[in-house]
Amino acid sequence: MRELVVVGAGPAGMAAADAAARRGVAVTLIDSASRLGGQIYRQPLADPGGSEPARPGGPSLPARFRSLEDERVEMILGASVWSASRAPNGFALRLDANPDGGGAVVETQAVVLATGASELVLPFPGWELPGVSTAGGAQALLKSQNVRVGRRVLVAGSGPFLLPVAASLARSGAKVAAVVEACSPSRTMAKLARVLMYPSKVAEALVYMRQLATHRVPFLGGSALISCGGSDRVQRAVVARLDQNWVPVPRSERSFEVDAVCVSFGFVPRLELCRQLELEDTHDGAHPGATAVHDASMASSVPGVFVAGELTGVGGAVVAELEGRIAGHAAASYLGRAPGPASATEWAKAVLKLRRASTFADLLGDIYGLQPGWTTWQTASTVFCRCEDVTWDTVRHAIDVETKSARAVRGLTRCGMGYCQGRTCGPALEMAIAALTGARLGDSGDLHSRPVAVPVPLHQVAEWSDLSEPERSSGDVAPPDQRNRGR
């Protein structure tokens, strides 16, 4: 039985592990990637030569997280938690720890869930063409592998994430045809007084804008990529101006020649493990997906389970790290480690900083909103569910005629039943139901409840060994330093 398992090694998880370990807790940090850092501090998956990573922290891991490598913290990297459940005296997490052997079970008294978010993408005609990727995917490719998605790239969608991605692509030598932001600049202008209260954030944005200007990348606000065309890959991108509901303005279309397109409309928390542990979550009615309910010490509604990072609301890396630190402290106290004066001060400081950082995240949420007009970009044959090739027409018919429930639409149309189990289309489905029926976003339910959080081979489901007693673990689970990147 372990003391504390932290699931997710992004800024939230790393900060939680660090804070708890410094309080004397025996911490286990689990991540499905082979290296620390999560999405935002992406590290190369392999060392040069394709060999297994020699160190859990890759070359560009921020220095303040380096101390995690000193082996105070047990790391199980390259393993995904597919099931989290209650166990006597705590919780049981099931992992696909070894791709060629059995799975593993880890039992623990307390858990910090820091599983982050995945990208929100809204369908549009031609989005399924090869060469269309998410902004995050393009960024990951560039940062961890030095590979560009294309030579002439259009970056489109909504949200602050478009800027750094476009800037990275421009700096790498790609021609960025345009950055296309659905929200009108007037929304930022309307909140300008509040935005200016965060000078470091403004400076950051200005750096990106300057880089884009240097590379002559046009910024098209209040506009959207409404369709892509090409024979067997993307070759054309059509951008139109939008009204405030995101309905395209007639005759405002412009066409760009491209060989790649990157899209992003924000992020959606990855809630599977929260749902498996029956944590209470809440829906803000403005963004698809739900967020885990927590108190000021990041404790969830289930005693012993703490949440941090994007799970509590998409707020970015700074907020995530602060929440993680608080969660680590709270978990240590939960496990009976009274905080000394230094820890108490650190904890209190994190709470104060979090308040300020959160208000900026909220401000961004106010500026970047999602409007229902995206449903008018679809044609009847637009692919809505990429995995199962379910068209917009099929989904819309199910919503109009049959049901307002996301799960029922899934059952009727197979939307969300493919390999990705609704991770890509689920949020768009929630939004489509709200847009088409006028219901409050969230009333349709969502597809985030997944008792199997990641696909796992049946032999790992069937045979598992208990990782609590490493000396006595079964021979078919390799120790951490010998685990392969799975196929």
Partner: protein
């Protein structure tokens, strides 16, 4: 396609063609490096797919490699001698 660095090549096959890519890349990155944008056909409509989310959540980038079927190309590191093949979006034992 890529920002040049010290280049240690990995040689592999894709649908029979001989290709190479810098070592340490994922299969998806290695294919993109070679200008290959799609390596899968969808189950229902047989449409081409390649990289989409790039981080392992969308399962669009499924590829067959050696005796594994329908693995995520964006997460799987490319190794010397890999036999990479277009996936038909079906997993399970290669012989069944």
């Amino acid at each position: 396609m890529s920002v040049e660095a010290a280049y240690v090549p990995v040689h592999f096959h894709f649908d029979g063609a001989e290709l190479q890519a810098p070592s340490g890349l994922t299969i998806a990155a290695g294919l993109l490096y070679n200008g290959v944008l799609s390596w899968r056909t969808t189950r229902v409509a047989g449409m081409p797919r390649g990289l989409f989310c790039g981080i392992g959540t969308c399962f669009d980038c499924l590829v067959d490699v050696n005796d594994s079927r329908a693995v995520r190309a964006c997460l799987t590191v490319l190794r010397e001698g890999d036999d990479v093949r277009t996936s038909s979006s079906t997993g399970g034992p290669a012989h069944a």
